[in-house]
Amino acid sequence: MTDSPRKHRLQIEALSKSFPGVQALDGLALGIEAGEILGLVGENGAGKSTLLNVLSGVIRPDAGSLESDGGALSLRDYKDANAAGIFRVFQQQATIPGLRVYESLFLSHESRFRNLLGLDRRAMIARSREAIAEFGLALDVRRPIGELELGVRQSLEIVRALALAALLGAEHPLLLLDEPTTALDSAQDERLLALLAGLRGRATVVFVSHRLPEVLRVCDRITVLKDGRLVTTLPAAELDEPRLHELMVGRGRAANYYRESEQRAPAAAAAPVFRVEGIEVPGEIAPATLAVRPGEVVGIGGLEGSGRSLLGKAMAGIVPVAAGTVAIGEDTPRTPDFHHLIDRGLAWIPGDRHSDGMIADASVLANFQLASIHDRFSRGGIWRRGAARREAERWVRELDVRPPRLDAKVGALSGGNQQKVVLAKWLCREPRVVILENPTQGVDTGARESIYELIRGLTAEGVGIVLITDDLTELIGLSDRILVLVGGHIVDSIAAQPDDKPDEKEVIALMSQSRTEVAA
């Protein structure tokens, strides 16, 4: 950092916004310097999304002002924000799968590509090629978005924002990136971060992410929000992860973050609680065999496209398998059948809670009881309402779900609380085996810790856990053993006892082997 006063791209003064019952932003003041990458971190509910919503014109603040280039900004909608050179890349991608790349890049700005016959596709294609080449992406702009892998799509979102900025003649575009890496695996993540670093000086970037290491790596300065207020803004160079955690939650992150001290090596002699033999999904998963002992966390690591999520579904009997068996405890091995396995003590907790785990419009109670109505919460077809409510209340209290109301709509809860409800939905069944995917995706630090505590609690009770996660530190921190999946093949098994945790780089290297290396 230089001492010379830097030009502010955007000055935020005394910004406040309240929603019924929530002060989302509380007199926030913040200057965003031209050309910098500013990290924005805080727990869920700290006000990050609200701030981005205000900056992109999606919601209007109750009080406060925005100033840009010495003039006051009044943003009524996203197009206003665009006109002011502000562009946003959304958390859940706003791309439409059926559109082609070039159509998607200039969606809603087609009027700038008119010719005598209407839409000048040739100009759009040319412009798209330029924009994409500029960021070192190589792909045919005529391909439908739906065919591209997630990481490329997310990169395209950033390219789109910049291409629009250029199209609209914005000299100093300001990009708002809202957790652009949440859905990406390590390799894609790296490419996206490289792309970001390349923007330094050409654009001003506000980068929101739950993944602190990457915020620390890629940002110039980092702003910490808590309860809608500014905690501090510091140069990234002066911060490290523990310090950042401390600022975010107001307490230090324990060295024992993943509760490794509670990790017990399962007795080698113990009979496995979950046995998977030769599970095969043609073209996707090569015959996979694994065993989970009571109290053991078996991690499955792999890049996106390695089939890690599919393997979990195949073991659970959710997707059909061509061959192979599974067995819980002393059961006779048989072809996986989801309903049978659930009755035998399996819990399958999905990685994407929004599409697979919860009914957003339904209440906490309705979501909580959904997997257990057939056995625990009904008798003779009649709902045991009292039993369901009592159980739900117990779990809501135990996991500290907020607000602690059974009639609250799950969709209205924060990510961490939603995840707690999804966990409670399955864990109330007292499962013997849990297949757990991305347990902390889009979950704030506080809730993360309670989830890790919960996982350790399960292992202490002898539950066997298959952990499938794209969060590498979590995978290493929680697992007793990590199976590395490459192209649908389990290629390696790494010990991960508390005193013998593998290095992140080592695991990445194993996960990044090409399939030819695997075959050889």
């Binding site: 916004k17 929603f19 019924p20 019952g21 929530v22 989302a24 869920n44 999304s49 609200t50 981005l52 919503n53 999606v58 919601i59 996203y78 959304f90 958390q91 859940q92 991608q93 706003a94 809202d178 959710i318 989801f338 309903h339 659930i342 399958w348 999905p350 929004h354 599409s355 697979d356 785990g357 919860m358 009914i359 957003a360 419009d361 339904a362 309705a366 009881q369 959904l370 997997a371 109505i373 057939h374 009904s378 077809g381 009649i382 709902w383 309402r385 609250a408 709509k409 969709g411 209205a412 924060s414 939905k425």
Partner: protein
């Protein structure tokens, strides 16, 4: 925009939810009271015991036809075949009564057939993966065609005092039995909707089918069951109508499709599924019945009534869309 805005706006919507819930129930109630007051003021014969008895007979078959269909709509699907099921089952019952010595066996035969037709709809929809709109649009035509073949295109009168008594008799004085049976069925369906595993699953499937399936619910079975119930209640409605008329005719049940959907939607069950329920459908049925009866009383002709009814349906859906919009910014 995207889902990103959902967190704060959902929080904002939380305190409005109750208000909206109240509005959702209050609006049909207010409309109901307004209609009663209006028609009572315009026609001296509207609020008479005799007319109320007539209305209990008019509302009965419609309420029955709408009950099972409400489950289907709550599940996020639609059953367009209720009128045709009523026609076919009514026609079969009429021919059993008129042309055989089986007598009241016509009732289990008619109702059983209704269940079968519903199962047929459900199987094609759930296992054949044909959208319910298309499945029941097709079966609407098929069932009606078979019914008309049986009737050979003209009304089939029958004489069976016991059967007719079940429809138009008055076990409770001044309440037509049709209305009584429907009300009893309604109470049973409300219980099923709120207090049984089946009911909870119907809401879950309507809320998010995929999540329901991934929670271990065998959704196809419940889909078929919901359509079977819809077939059962549509058949019951057809039998009662036949009992009221003393014949099975080609126009039997012809008003059920539009009227039952109108009642469901006006009552406040969203076509998108997951919310609402049979308790609300009673309100919708009363509204539709009072509207039709009252318009008759004040001398509005049949065709104008159709126009008004169509307008009411669109208005009701528009209102539910508006009250829901506050929760989601898209």
């Amino acid at each position: 925009m995207s889902k990103t805005a959902a967190a704060p706006t959902a929080a904002a919507g939380r305190s409005q939810t109750n208000w909206l819930g109240i509005a959702n129930t209050a609006l049909p109630l207010i409309a109901l009271v307004a209609l009663v007051v209006y028609f009572a003021a315009r026609s001296s014969s509207f609020l008479t015991i005799d007319n109320l008895t007539v209305m209990s007979g008019q509302a009965g078959p419609l309420l029955l036809a709408a009950l099972g269909a409400t489950f289907v709509v709550t599940m996020g699907s639609i059953d367009l075949s209720v009128g045709s099921v009523a026609l076919l089952c009514g026609a079969v019952a009429a021919s059993v009564l008129a042309e055989s010595s089986l007598g009241l066996w016509a009732i289990p035969i008619g109702l059983g057939l209704g269940i079968l037709l519903g199962v047929a709809n459900g199987v094609v929809y759930a296992y054949g993966r044909v959208p319910s709109f298309i499945t029941t649009l097709g079966s609407l035509s098929i069932f009606a065609g078979i019914g008309l073949l049986i009737l050979d295109g003209s009304p089939l009168p029958f004489i069976n005092p016991d059967f007719s008594e079940l429809a138009i008799g008055q076990i409770i004085p001044k309440v037509q039995n049709s209305g009584l049976w429907a009300l009893i069925a309604w109470a049973v369906f409300v219980f099923v909707g709120f207090r049984t595993k089946f009911g909870l699953y119907i809401y879950a499937i309507g809320g998010d089918e995929r999540v329901a399936e991934l929670s271990g619910i065998r959704i196809n079975r419940y889909k078929v069951a919901a359509f079977a119930l819809s077939g059962l209640t549509a058949a019951a409605a057809g039998l009662l109508s036949a009992g009221q008329l003393g014949s099975g005719g080609p126009t039997l049940g012809s008003s059920f499709l539009l009227d039952s959907l109108a009642a469901i939607v006006v009552g406040g069950t969203a076509l998108s599924g997951g919310t609402g329920g049979v308790h609300r459908t009673l309100l919708g049925v009363l509204l539709i019945t009072i509207l039709a009866n009252g318009l008759n009383q004040i001398g509005v002709d049949e065709f104008t009534q159709e126009i008004i009814k169509g307008g009411v349906i669109i208005l009701a859906v528009a209102i539910t869309m508006v009250t829901r919009r506050g929760l989601v910014i898209k």
